[in-house]
């Protein structure tokens, strides 16, 4: 009896347990969302194709003829319409017949691809299909197109033409000057002040400080500064006034040594040249500024000339020189530094006046020709700017486009 009761009880418990578990399974199954793929029919509709495929030889600044630039208009289903385009497949073939090999997959929304694996001179046919994850659209094709090793950047033709015109003007006026034509050059007070400043230093028996900027020797402002240094050195040599030239670049120091030594020799004072006055201080911008300020305060030059490429150290130098009571002449083509020099110096050469200094000081006809050429090129530039405005207003954009470079 007892055993039977236990057996019935066991069967009851097992049944209840099994039934509960089965009910739980049912509940769990009922709670699960069926997968989308189980409910939707497969996508059989391909996306709309891309359009307007073009391919052109791509010319960059290291052209090996291996680049073809592809561009197209995206599929109407890319981000719009069915909005199911996931990307584009780019194909390349050497025959017009087939799509050829897959070149790349490009993400949806992009309308171009740069093929950098082309063989120079080999004609290619390109195709692009839109892809929605399942289906490809019809292909849009273009070809043949071949990459070439280019010898001229066509987009820079405008620069070449204008530079040629400018160089032509410079050479014409140089020739005219050599034949004795009188070329008027306006007075530049800053350049006239250089001799006055050196004279004052001589009267006071104090040195002249010439800072050629902190640009490297490949900076044209530094070169222009060295040409002015040559003239300044001749004046200081004549007056036998010490000339201190601190530099921030070792090559500039070497060049400055040659320039000053040569200038002293030219005016017959080679013995007055002191090599220790052409000094390399530091390549570090503010270490250089600190060292030059030290020279101003300890050696007390009566004239400070800052001519060349300057950055943030310009005001540190000019303001210290002002506090030290020196007569100061500055000149730079760094537009952002000009206000500092104008504020702290007695005279400032603005931009192009720095480049005019050599011709102005020497009055050599050949150099004056360059100045006249620059002036006439400014006239050409003004005319072109006016023409550009008019052409843009009348909708002739091709004129302005021609001046765009890349």
């Amino acid at each position: 009896m007892m055993r039977a009761s236990l057996a019935v009880l066991s069967i009851l418990v097992l049944s209840l347990t099994f039934g509960w578990a089965w009910a739980q399974d049912e509940l769990v199954l009922e709670g699960v969302e069926p997968a989308l793929s189980d409910t939707l029919p497969p996508d059989l509709i391909p996306p709309a194709p891309a359009a307007g495929l073009t391919a052109v030889d791509y010319v960059d600044n290291n052209d090996s003829g291996n680049k073809i630039d592809l561009s197209w208009t995206t599929s109407p289903d890319d981000g719009d319409g069915a909005a199911d385009v996931t990307g584009y497949q780019v194909w390349r073939s050497e025959t017009a017949a087939g799509p050829g090999d897959t070149l790349a997959f490009v993400a949806a929304g992009q309308a171009g691809y740069l093929d950098e694996t082309a063989e120079p001179g080999t004609p290619y046919y390109y195709s692009v299909t839109a892809f929605d994850g399942t289906n490809h659209s019809d292909a849009v094709s273009f070809g043949p197109v071949a990459g070439a090793r280019n010898w001229f950047t066509a987009t820079r033709a405008a620069v070449l033409v204008l530079v040629s015109v400018f160089f032509g003007l410079v050479l014409v006026f140089t020739q005219l000057a050599e034949r004795g034509a009188k070329l008027f050059v306006r007075r530049i007070p800053g350049l006239n002040a250089i001799e006055e400043a050196v004279g004052r230093a001589t009267e006071m028996g104090r040195p002249v400080l010439y800072v050629p900027g902190i640009g490297e020797i490949d900076n044209i402002m530094t070169i222009a500064s060295l040409t002015i240094l040559s003239h300044v050195a001749k004046i200081t040599a004549r007056y036998e006034t010490p000339l201190i030239v601190p530099t921030a670049r070792a090559v500039v120091m070497s060049a400055a040594e040659e320039v000053v030594k040569e200038a002293y020799a030219e005016v017959g004072k080679p013995d007055a040249y002191n090599r220790d006055n052409i000094r390399y201080l530091s390549d570090a911008q503010f270490a250089f500024a600190g060292a030059v300020n030290g020279i101003m305060l300890r050696e007390k030059p009566a004239a400070n000339l800052y001519l060349g490429a300057f950055w943030a150290e310009s005001l540190l130098l000019a303001e210290t020189g002002f506090e030290a009571g020196a007569i100061q002449v500055a000149g730079t083509a760094m537009v952002s530094q000009l206000p500092f020099f104008v504020t702290a110096c007695d005279y400032t050469l603005l931009g192009e006046e720095l480049y005019a200094a050599s011709a102005y000081l020497s009055r050599e006809p050949k150099l004056l020709g360059g100045l006249k050429g620059s002036d006439w090129m400014k006239v050409v530039t003004i005319v072109l700017i006016a023409a550009g405005i008019i052409m843009n207003l009348v909708g002739a954009d091709a004129f302005v486009e021609w001046f765009h470079t890349s």
Binding site: F166, A250, S254, A333, K378
Partner: protein, 210 residues
């Protein structure tokens, strides 16, 4: 004669090549251009030695001649040789925490930052002088500067919404026009100077004379 003509010839060839390479994208020309730039880097590295020799010579002469400020020369030598020694003889001198690195970060960098921050005081003292309304031009400068400074801080907007607008106009119309005018002149001046140097018309940069 050769001492004069050879540098001029080299200058002409190199200058012409540098001008031409701008228009020629062919990889052979561009490779040659890259090589020339590498040569320049090599040249500059060697020139650095010349600079160091000059620095040592000038300060050695000051100490030998017992110049009044020779103490600074001794400090220069101490700094130069300490950094040279730490750089040459300490292994992994670039590693964080190395003596060379510590000296650079804790001496050189703060000193340079101090020099740079001095600019704020220099700008203030220079501006004080520039803004004295002694002439018509200086008065115009003062008015323009006052508008621009006010337009760049929140109080300008609080006073009147016209001030930031006027600031923008000053910077983008008269200021930009003047800057562009200067830059066109600078560009033409640079090209004219380059042409004169390439053609050997301008020779003062290599010591002058013929």
């Amino acid at each position: 004669m050769l001492r004069r003509r050879l540098p001029l010839l080299l200058c002409f060839i190199a200058g012409l090549f540098m001008a031409v390479q701008y228009y020629v994208p062919h990889h052979s020309v561009q490779s040659a251009y890259e090589t020339l730039l590498l040569w320049l880097q090599t040249l500059l590295a060697f020139a650095f030695l010349l600079g160091t020799v000059s620095l040592i010579r000038v300060h050695y002469h000051k100490i030998r001649n017992k110049a009044a400020d020779r103490g600074f020369s001794l400090v220069m030598f101490a700094g130069l040789f300490a950094m040279l020694g730490l750089g040459f003889f300490h292994p992994s001198h670039h590693a964080p925490g190395s003596p060379f690195n510590l000296m650079f970060l804790n001496v050189q960098v703060p000193i340079e930052a101090t020099m740079f921050s001095l600019l704020a005081f220099y700008v203030a003292s220079a501006a004080f002088r520039a803004f004295r309304a002694r002439t018509l031009e200086a008065t115009l400068l003062l008015v323009a500067a006052a508008i621009v400074m006010l337009g760049r801080v929140p109080i300008g907007e609080m006073i009147s919404s016209t001030i930031p607008e006027a600031t923008r106009w000053i910077l983008e119309v008269p200021n930009l026009a003047a800057k562009r005018g200067i830059m066109i002149g600078v560009g033409l001046g640079m090209m004219a100077t380059s042409l004169k140097i390439i053609l050997g018309i301008e020779r003062a940069w290599m010591g002058g004379g013929d």
